[in-house]
């Protein structure tokens, strides 16, 4: 019983950090119509900033992390995203692959393959134990941060003029400009906001995902891929469904890894086949609800001819 609860708690913990990442990735998609594969490398850069300043005061270290991520976001926006504004989605996606790969290569050459340990606030990694079930402080914090960030973004996007302009600029920059929207400026602003979220993730991820205590060139890469999958499965067009998609992905991975036995064989009876099980679920969900698991009603209507 305690075991089951513990598995569930661990799964929710993983889900919550994925959800936070999904908010960031969902926002980038929302405002850039861009599946930003390089998002993970923004997080990586921030995490390196933290790891390389382990000996500095925590606040300074975090400030540096934000500075690095924001500067990199801005650089990407100016050097890559802006020129690509009118490119096809495939081109943009592959361009972000290339950028991601470039940043990974630079990190690899500069810092080496072996990870560097990140120490932010060790206290947060410690568990509280309630009735034999361990919950780590960072999990609670991640959930709070995810909810706050999500709420703030929702307000920004739906209640403010600049949010409206961001959405319009993302859907059709040319027309938005014809209406007087400073498309480039608002998109840049959105990229910076997504950068802020990336920096937040960079601070939280090393504590929240145990394997990420070490920062290496592929830091956050796997999480980015899984969250991207989750965001699409959940429904990428809406921030809420995207976020829930990320969350679900984490919970699914957590539960499956909790319940698949550690040995066994085909088909999918062993945790070795965890990925297969997860991806099979993804395929099934996509086939049943192509528009997204958490998108209410069929929005096919939107595609009226």
């Amino acid at each position: 019983m305690t075991d089951d609860v513990q598995t569930l708690v661990d799964a929710v913990a993983l889900g919550s950090i994925y959800a936070l990442m999904a908010v960031g990735i969902g926002l980038v998609f929302g405002v850039l119509r861009l599946v930003n594969f390089a998002y993970g490398q923004l997080i990586m850069a921030g995490a390196y900033a933290l790891a390389l300043t382990n000996d500095q005061p925590v606040l300074l270290s975090i400030a540096l992390c934000f500075a690095v991520v924001l500067a990199l976001s801005l650089a990407l926006e100016l050097a890559a995203f802006r020129p690509l504004r009118r490119a096809s989605p495939t081109t943009m996606l592959v361009a972000t692959f290339a950028i991601s790969y470039l940043l990974q290569s630079i990190a690899l050459v500069k810092f080496g393959a072996i990870g560097k340990i990140v120490v932010v606030v060790p206290k947060l990694s410690e568990p509280v134990t309630i009735g034999g079930v361990h919950i780590r402080w960072i999990t609670i914090m991640t959930i709070i941060v995810a909810v706050l960030v999500f709420a703030a973004l929702m307000v920004l996007l739906t209640k403010t003029t600049i949010g409206l302009h961001m959405r319009a600029a993302s859907i059709d920059p040319a027309t938005a400009r014809l209406l007087g929207v400073r498309a480039n400026a608002v998109i840049t602003a959105a990229v910076l906001v997504s950068g802020v979220i990336a920096a937040i993730v960079a601070v939280i991820l090393p504590m929240a995902v145990p394997e990420r205590l070490l920062v290496g060139p592929d830091f956050a890469l796997r999480e980015t891929i899984i969250v991207l999958v989750g965001v699409v499965v959940g429904g990428i067009d809406r921030l809420l469904s995207a976020t829930l998609g990320g969350f679900t992905m984490g919970v699914a991975v957590g539960l499956l890894s909790g319940y698949l036995p550690s040995s066994g064989a085909w088909p999918f009876t062993s945790s070795v086949y965890l990925d297969s099980a997860v991806f099979m679920l993804v395929i099934i969900v996509l086939l049943i609800r192509p528009e997204g698991l958490f998108v209410r009603g069929r929005h096919a209507a939107l595609e009226r001819v």
């Binding site: 003029t161 302009h165 959405r167 040319a174 027309t175 014809l178 209406l179 007087g180 400073r182």
Partner: protein, 235 residues
């Protein structure tokens, strides 16, 4: 108010507009008609800064706006009802209208401007919280016109505003243009309804093949010979 001189626009190497001169005085309605592919929309886009002219100048109230970005042109007081509506289907009707406010220099009076549009196009009001993509074609066109009007521009450019509108609504729109003009707004109207345009406008330019062919006055509206000439060249 709006002056275009020697305008040339090319797509690739092919000129779509050649050596075009036209001017619209403050509070005037000027029509622009011509066959498909004549370069009418291209001209409007050039004024908006959405395409880059290869020659010529565009002046707004005396100062050149050539080379300015569209958002700057809008903020200088020009608004466009674009061809093909170009509304944001994923946003709600009201959000679409609010986008039209982006070019306003002052936020005062935005609410009233919205109200006036709602009054002009009741359908838009009824469906203000729906996704704009779900509107019928003509309803979307009304929205596109309304979106330009809420900005209360000094200069209003309309690219075939009557497209897809039911006859009663066309009446409404043309009536509204007169009313707006009365407030001193300058209007450049691209249309396919040649008769009505010529009758309504202070002056109507006829374009074909990228060039200005002739200028018609309101009196020519009933003159079918002149109108035929306008389209098929003088024979």
């Amino acid at each position: 108010m709006l002056e275009v001189s020697g305008l040339e626009v090319r797509y690739g190497t092919v000129p779509a507009v050649r050596d075009l001169d036209l001017s619209v005085g403050r509070g005037e309605i000027v029509g622009l008609i011509g066959p498909n592919g004549a370069g009418k929309s291209t001209t409007l886009h050039a004024i908006m800064g959405a395409v880059r002219p290869s020659a010529g100048d565009i002046r707004l109230a005396g100062s050149s706006i050539r080379g300015r970005a569209p958002e700057q042109v809008v903020r200088a007081g020009v608004a466009l009802v674009p061809e093909g509506r170009r509304i944001f289907t994923e946003l709600t009707v009201e959000e679409n209208l609010r986008l039209g406010l982006a070019g306003r220099r002052s936020k005062d009076g935005s609410a009233e401007a919205l109200e006036r549009v709602y009054e002009l196009f009741p359908v838009v009001h009824e469906s203000r919280s729906r996704h704009a993509g779900l509107l019928s074609g003509g309803q979307q066109q009304q929205l596109a016109i309304g979106r330009a009007l809420v900005g209360e521009p000094d200069v209003l450019l309309l690219d075939e505003p009557s497209l897809g509108l039911a006859p009663t609504v066309v009446d409404t729109v043309f009536g509204a243009l007169l009313a707006i003009r009365a407030q001193g707004v300058t209007i450049l109207l691209v249309e396919q309804r040649a008769q009505r345009t010529v009758a309504l406008a202070d002056r109507t330019y006829v374009m074909s093949n990228g060039e200005l062919r002739m200028t018609l006055g309101p009196g020519d509206a009933g003159d079918s010979r002149r109108m035929v000439e306008a389209y098929f060249g003088s024979s």
